[in-house]
């Protein structure tokens, strides 16, 4: 047990060192001060905690959208599309609902439905979930744009949709001077729920068993097809929730090109891998991930570093942190697939 923790700590330290040295090397090669750069990219984001936490709540959710299916050995690359759907449905429902609860719930359910379809196609019809999910991402991207520019467009500001009515918005609360987004608290609560679900419920256990060993699952009387599908549906719920939270909690509208969302579903994959697919780890990694993103923006402003480079730098750090786990996951993913075929 001790050995595992030690190994984990060493792994993280090694990854951070490796990531930082490569980032520093790139910066000095490009003629920027590496120390100042590293300082800004990691801690620069702390200057705007409000924005930091709101951003992390969104990728915390898309992180869970990836990791819950990943535990069942499903590869949910569809968090992006599920997020669009969630946002869109939440927006539409909010127009008719006086409270934030219903839009959030329906956004999450809509995302879950998308996940369910992707999962069921794979489990019962052998259609690869990665391909379905990628196709759905694009389908929902353009569908969202279509709906925002036609049925939901705002006559006063044509580049965006109508706004969420006041009564349906999640705002901030004041904790003795510190402003905190309700959305952030909701996300933390949901991540804890996910943790409980994965590690303390029958369904979570069955998902994990099917992900680790399909044959053991069959032996134990678990239906791996069912758990696979359900895990994808759960992932979709979190993906959809991320989109709903974005609309209900932060932007209060969707813009024509989905710029406030675009890419956050994919960021979730990095967050999930960095957090070792563990919901608690994902809380931490989503915050760290956002720090890098905001730090990168600070770097662009104060050091005149191009955006492409700061993105590359955060990428290097994230990849080096996610790599050891991603490697192990990929290996077991391939293995489970093989074994699974044998047990059909």
């Amino acid at each position: 047990m001790l050995r595992e923790y030690l190994q984990f700590v060493l792994e993280v330290i090694g990854s951070v060192l490796a990531g930082f040295s490569v980032a520093a090397l790139i910066m000095s090669l490009m003629g920027f001060d590496p120390l100042k750069g590293l300082y800004l990219i990691t801690l620069g984001g702390l200057s705007d905690p409000d924005y930091l936490l709101s951003r992390s709540s969104l990728i915390m959710m898309t992180g869970l959208a990836f990791s819950v299916p990943a535990l069942a050995s499903a590869f949910n690359i569809g968090g992006e599309g599920q997020m669009y759907v969630g946002g869109l449905v939440a927006l539409a429902v909010s127009l008719y609902s006086p409270n934030p609860l219903l839009p959030l719930a329906s956004g999450a359910l809509a995302g879950g439905l998308v996940g369910l379809v992707i999962g069921a196609l794979r489990a019962y019809r052998e259609v690869n979930e990665v391909i379905t999910a990628i196709m759905m991402n694009w389908t929902f991207y353009y569908l969202s744009i279509y709906l925002i520019t036609t049925y939901l467009y705002n006559p006063l500001a044509p580049y965006r949709s109508v706004s969420v009515p006041e009564g349906s918005r999640l705002s901030t609360i004041d904790l003795s001077g510190v402003k905190l987004h309700v959305s952030f608290l909701v996300s933390i609560a949901l991540a804890l729920v996910a943790y409980f679900l994965v590690y303390h419920t029958k369904l979570g256990y069955e998902i994990r068993v099917s992900g680790l060993s399909r044959r053991s699952a069959v032996y134990a009387g678990i239906n791996p097809r069912r758990t696979f599908t359900l895990s994808m549906a759960l992932g979709g719920v979190f993906g959809g929730f991320s989109g709903a939270l974005n609309v209900i909690g932060f932007t209060y509208y969707m813009d024509q090109l989905l710029t406030s969302m675009y890419g956050m579903g994919f960021d979730g994959i990095g967050v999930a891998l960095m957090g070792r697919n563990n919901p608690i780890g994902i809380i931490l990694s989503s915050i760290f991930f956002s720090m890098l993103l905001l730090g990168g923006q600070r770097m662009q402003v104060s050091m005149n570093v191009p955006k492409e480079l700061t993105d590359a730098l955060s990428g290097v750090i994230i990849i080096s942190l996610a790599m050891p786990y991603a490697y192990r996951m990929l290996i077991s993913y391939l293995r489970v697939r093989k074994v699974g075929r044998g047990a059909e």
Partner: protein, 496 residues
């Protein structure tokens, strides 16, 4: 002349396991040299080093007097070493000829040259195989011949056979031995890995016994007795006899009636099997692997669909019911593969819940506290050696894994236990422990269905024996009515 000599060969695996702790002995040219040892003694590791598959940590190996430094099997093959694994390395969809050509192209032989050499070899050795048949159509014994021929075509001078008889019927074994003797007489050196004393006696000229990574001794086979060999192998007298109490069986618990089950390939794997297991009785199913035992058991447990027939447990028909329902009716199943019965990456506590999730949950929530107590109880009462309940099960030795799995299933207090190969791959001490536990279960009135390819096990444990061959139970009766010879014949498909 020495064909192969090992000098102080050591191997430490990266995880710190000492597989070989300085092994020295030599194999003479033109002899059949037995390599005897229990599971984990280091036999296979040593041979994989000789075949260039893994590198030794220290020591030297000489092949025909020249020091061997192999960077891979290709070097070993060039040096004249051939290997026949337990699991064959043949391409199923290829013909015999294609397989052999495939393995010979690297040494620059074309199909004509290979065929010419094969014709000669088949003539000279008596290894008759249908060259143009697809490998997938061949029985196991035939496939093994193809493997041997593959090595011979590549001009192997030293042939390593890893437990070659484990997959064969007694008749096939006899044929194999005949061929091996002939090859030896023609000057081939054969290293024969086994853990069966009988085979050492029958086929080897000299034998080296390995125990826990060390050589215990090398002897001429005729100068050493079975008892001595057994003692060398396990380091103590083997307890071959298990005491059995006389128990008169009670009412039937499991009834299988005319069961028909399809295998993975859609061909009938079980063709109308019927059997009954009663309280306080062990029914042992003997047979060579792959004669429908697996499918029969899986159909009873509900993992596989039975196309026809009935499964009745405790008077209730359960044909085609979900596995969990069958477990709930008092069936415990110990599968033949530990990576199926246990989730290796999960710890002991999590593995307790695997087949007993209903017991350790209230509503949708799992009660880990109670599961932990149960894991602790199992570890203590079944002598599972483990330093913490949080250890992933995969870290345990095979014996401890088996004890834990057995413990989990027995603690459910089932009325019927199905055990498939319960001692497969275990050392002598663990084997003894598991068999004793199974006998205790029987004495306490449980009904037990044992499936085993190990005849000793079937005889030691069973009250009644059923022999399965090609999906049918071709003989059934009290164990006293079977002799070893009769079972051997039955397993080979000869009605006796």
């Amino acid at each position: 002349m020495e064909a192969v000599s090992f000098e102080e060969v050591r191997k430490v695996y990266p995880d710190g396991t000492y597989a070989l702790k300085g092994v020295s002995f030599s194999v003479e040219q033109g002899e059949i040299h037995g390599l005897l040892g229990e599971n984990g003694a280091g036999k296979t590791t040593l041979m994989r080093i000789l075949y260039g598959e893994i590198k030794p940590t220290g020591g030297r190996i000489k092949v025909f007097g020249r020091e061997a430094r192999f960077s891979g099997p290709w070097d070993a093959i060039k040096a004249g070493i051939g290997m026949v694994y337990q699991k064959f390395s043949l391409v199923e969809g290829f013909t015999v000829m294609e397989n052999i050509v495939l393995s010979s192209t690297r040494i620059g032989m074309d199909e004509r040259a290979v065929r010419k050499r094969l014709d000669y070899l088949i003539e000279a050795t008596g290894l008759k195989v249908p060259l143009d048949q697809e490998v997938s159509n061949l029985p196991v014994g035939m496939r093994q011949r193809v493997e041997i021929l593959k090595a011979l075509v590549r001009e192997a001078k030293v042939l390593i056979l890893d437990e070659p008889t484990s997959v064969l019927t007694p008749l096939e074994v006899r044929d194999l031995f005949k061929v091996l003797r002939r090859l030896r007489d023609d000057g081939l050196t054969i290293i024969f890995i086994t853990h069966k004393l009988k085979e050492v006696r029958e086929i080897t000229d000299r034998v080296t016994v390995l125990r826990r990574g060390r050589v215990v001794g090398t002897h001429r086979t005729e100068e050493v007795s079975d008892v001595e060999l057994a003692r060398m192998m396990v380091g103590r007298e083997v307890l071959f006899q298990l005491s059995r109490k006389k128990v008169s069986p009670g009412r039937p618990v499991l009834k299988v009636k005319d069961l028909w089950v399809e295998g993975d390939d859609g061909v009938w794997a079980v063709k109308g099997a019927s059997l009954t297991v009663r309280e306080g009785e062990i029914v042992g199913i003997a047979g060579v692997q792959g004669n429908g035992q697996k499918e029969l058991v899986e159909a009873i447990v509900g993992i596989r669909k039975a196309q026809r027939g009935q499964v009745i447990i405790g008077g209730e028909e359960l044909t085609g019911r979900a596995t969990r329902e069958v477990y709930d009716r008092g069936l415990a199943y110990i599968p033949d593969l530990r990576p199926v019965g246990l989730v290796m990456e999960m710890n002991l506590v999590e593995n307790v819940v695997l087949t007993r999730i209903k017991e350790f949950s209230s509503g949708p929530v799992i009660e880990w506290g109670r599961a932990r107590e149960e894991a602790d109880k199992i570890v203590k009462s079944f002598n599972v050696l483990v330093d913490s309940l949080n250890t992933p099960v995969g870290r345990l030795s095979g014996g401890n894994q088996q004890k834990f799995m057995l413990g989990r299933e027995i603690s459910r207090n089932p009325s019927l236990v199905i055990a498939s190969e319960p001692t497969h791959g275990l050392d002598v001490a663990a084997t003894e422990y598991v068999r004793k536990k199974i006998l205790e279960l029987r004495d306490s009135g449980k009904a037990i269905l044992l499936v085993s390819t190990d005849l000793d096990e079937v005889f030691q444990l069973s009250d009644r024996i059923a022999v399965m061959y090609e999906g049918k139970i071709i003989a059934e009766g009290p164990s006293e009515s079977f002799s070893l010879e009769r079972i051997g014949l039955l397993m080979g498909g000869v009605r006796a």
